[in-house]
Symmetry: C2
Subunit: 140 residues, 2 copies
DNA sequence: TTCTCTGCAAACGCTTTGCACGGAT
DNA sequence: ATCCGTGCAAAGCGTTTGCAGAGAA
């Protein structure tokens, strides 16, 4: 993604575009792997040797507060971050650990209300064995 | 619930029935509030003054390993425990913090496969304003 | 006696906080 | 000069680990 586009994404949410913020945003956009703070930190450390983990925390806090990224929690108690425009659900493989985005057209994702409760966030998340690991039955 | 029933629940999963385990199980069954470790610990401390948090952790680990309780994670990074027989979904109110069980007959809860991935756990979780807080518009 | 549950205390790891430096306006 | 992003170091806090004592079989 072009730098100007990312500056605009930040600007639209009233976030000033610093070098670090752009790098972190770029990483989130280019790597839809739902990275943890540590993933981001370790990867960017190669490009920004002086990077501090605190900055990654600060930046992600800013991004989540402003709604640019969302938090994905799994019962493994690891926090991962997700840059995403459209609502979708997640599938996590118990075997290989991969977290998949699934764009499934299910009605419950569109539901605005349930049992009288007003919904404004949908978190749908499945666990099991992914299609890749199903094929590799012998492996692992 | 009668003690014998609870002993059976544990026995079925090959867990020995100690006093502490029965108390913790009883608490989970009687209080479907998705308590945290601390909730359980604080409540039971009144009945078992010598109770240690380690024991609560140990017991919950045993229970989750054996599948008696499941873990509910919310993006607030708090771990809560859920004793529950039938699959259901959760709704968390952003205002009052209550976590509701919702027994909704939706197809996606029954789905065994998605995009070729084999599903064996469904975690559906919504956030918003609950029906109680919607009514109390003025309050809080 | 042996095995397992329990519980204290310390260790651990992730995240937050306090504060000071430095760059941008 | 001021503001704010950055980053070190320390604190904080929930959870896990090591180990020893107690209790059941």
């Amino acid at each position: 993604m072009k730098k100007e586009e990312m500056v605009k994404i930040l600007g639209d949410k009233e976030i000033q575009a610093s070098y670090h913020r752009l790098k972190i945003l770029e990483f989130l956009i280019d790597n839809r792997i739902h990275p943890s703070v540590d993933d981001i930190y370790k990867k960017l450390l190669h490009e920004i040797p002086t990077l501090s983990k605190t900055t990654v925390y600060n930046t992600l806090k800013t991004f989540t507060d402003k709604g640019i990224v969302s938090i994905v929690t799994t019962e493994e108690d690891e926090i991962r971050y997700d840059y995403s425009e459209e609502p979708h659900l997640h599938f996590k493989c118990k075997k290989c650990g991969t977290l998949y985005d699934i764009f499934h057209n299910c009605e419950i994702l569109k539901q605005k209300e349930i049992d009288g409760h007003l919904i404004d966030e949908h978190h749908l998340y499945f666990r099991g064995i992914c299609r890749k690991c199903r094929k590799e039955k012998g492996g692992n």
